[in-house]
């Protein structure tokens, strides 16, 4: 089942190799990717998600601001009725001091992320996650 994945960085993160790689990886799994690139302001991400109605939103960030930026933008995404059930995941180097503390991972999940991937997560975990998505008319739905 071909799905649409919206791929994006967060507002303060300029890195793009992670996005170039993830686009190739997700396309090889047979899905379509809209890649928003670096330094995506919250408003642009929300607007793009509303416009494209993706089955999944993947946020990838490696500059250490993922915790703060991620928490803020997931709140903005979840504030939209149409995006309340869209699966949204975040992964990468999320804090400035190595792996993110478990409490902060929990906070990100509580704020609305369906999954939080640290730097130890491999391609296989994302593959499995995408494989577990059940498509619905209003975007994907997560089976847990």
């Amino acid at each position: 089942m071909k799905r649409l994945v919206l791929l994006s960085s967060v507002s303060s993160d300029a890195h793009t190799w992670n996005l170039v790689y993830l686009q190739l990886l997700i396309e090889e799994l047979g899905h379509d990717v809209v890649n928003l690139g670096a330094c995506v302001p919250d408003g642009l991400l929300v607007e793009s998600a509303l416009r494209h109605g993706p089955d999944l939103v993947v946020l990838s960030t490696v500059n250490g601001h993922g915790y703060g930026d991620g928490k803020r933008v997931i709140t903005a995404l979840r504030a939209q009725q149409a995006l309340r059930n869209t699966p949204v995941v975040i992964g990468g180097k999320l804090g400035v001091a190595g792996p993110l503390e478990p409490e902060r991972v929990d906070e990100l999940r509580a704020a609305g992320f369906d999954a939080v991937f640290g730097t130890d997560a491999g391609a296989e975990e994302l593959r499995r996650f995408i494989g577990d998505l059940v498509p619905t008319s209003a975007g994907g739905e997560l089976v847990t």
């Binding site: 303060s12 793009t16 170039v20 690139g37 670096a38 500059n63 703060g68 180097k93 400035v96």
Partner: protein, 408 residues
Amino acid sequence: MTISEFIAQDGVLVVQPRMGFSDPDLMRRGLLAVAQASARAVATITLDSYTRVNDVPAAAVALRDGVPLNGYPILNHPPSVTRAMVEPLVAAGIPVQVRHGSALPLEIFAALAECGLAATEGGPVSYCLPYSRVPLPQAVDNWARACDLLARAPGAHLESFGGCMLGQLCPPSLLVAISVLEAMFFRQHGLRSVSLSYAQQTDRRQDMEAMDAMHRIAAVELSDVDWHIVLYAYMGVFPRTRSGALDLLGDAAELAVHGGADRLIVKTPAEAFRIPTIEENISAMEYAAAVADEVARGDPKTERLVDTGVYAEARTLVDAVLDLSPDIGRALRLAFARGVLDVPYCLHPDNAGLSRGVLDDSGRLRWSRVGRMPLPRPPDPGPGRSTPSADLLSALSYVERKYDRATL
């Protein structure tokens, strides 16, 4: 003392960290540690990534909530705080360079002037295409005004980040061309002291060839200003073992000496995992300086430079851009709009995105697609070894694997 006076002083390689902390006290400690290190070192204030995208409120929230930033928010701290922070270095004659990463640096440059700082870096292309979504014409205009402002400061120095485009997988001829063109843009906007960057890539001999090409083209194009070359230790995925990371850094120091760079931006063994501490920065700088010293005292290099066409390609690209307009900012805008310059793997909407760089079997970077750039069309590379994502990952981690394997 200005960076160029400092470099000229005793002829040894000058080293420099990329250090930035949100707290002025910690930042001051970092600056003092650089000043006291046993290396000839320029100090660095790296700004945080909220400041880079002009998001002053987000930096303010982080400061209020005690969330550490990945650099120094110079627009949030009062100029008096920043002035006091750098005062001991100014007094000791140690130059301080501000590294910021902004595509729209005017506000930051205005803050530098208020803080008495006059050395910084970046460029209208090198800080726009890879790191922002600002339209290139807007970045060029903003950089032009920012340069005009900076040029009025006594001792102003501006370094082009053009030799570091995307950190890896960009064939060297394009890195050389962009660095030279940005330095020419700075000169057109009044700067009299500039530097050109080049980032260590995957193959020492190819890097030597590229640095030679940069010297030759800069000698012609920048003959009426003060200039030097700054080498960046490898900017891609860093080795994970300590000895692999130090080997790579040591090779960068050797390359800097043999390739004729006057300054080296170091990386640390911590780089693969997190933002390095002050102590890690200092020890990496001291290590690089010691290697450079040993190399400089040793036999002069005997290997012959190979010519695989880096100079000819870089010269062709520079000439093709200069032909578009006598106004270099306008020439750069037209060059990207027409694909005369095209950075591989760059996702920015104003980059043509038709070019691709690959690693060949000998570990050298080459073009697999040149798009509309006026360069020789490469032979068909044939099918990749694996899937495109696996091939990309393998190329991105080539240096990491090479240096980590050597130490196992």
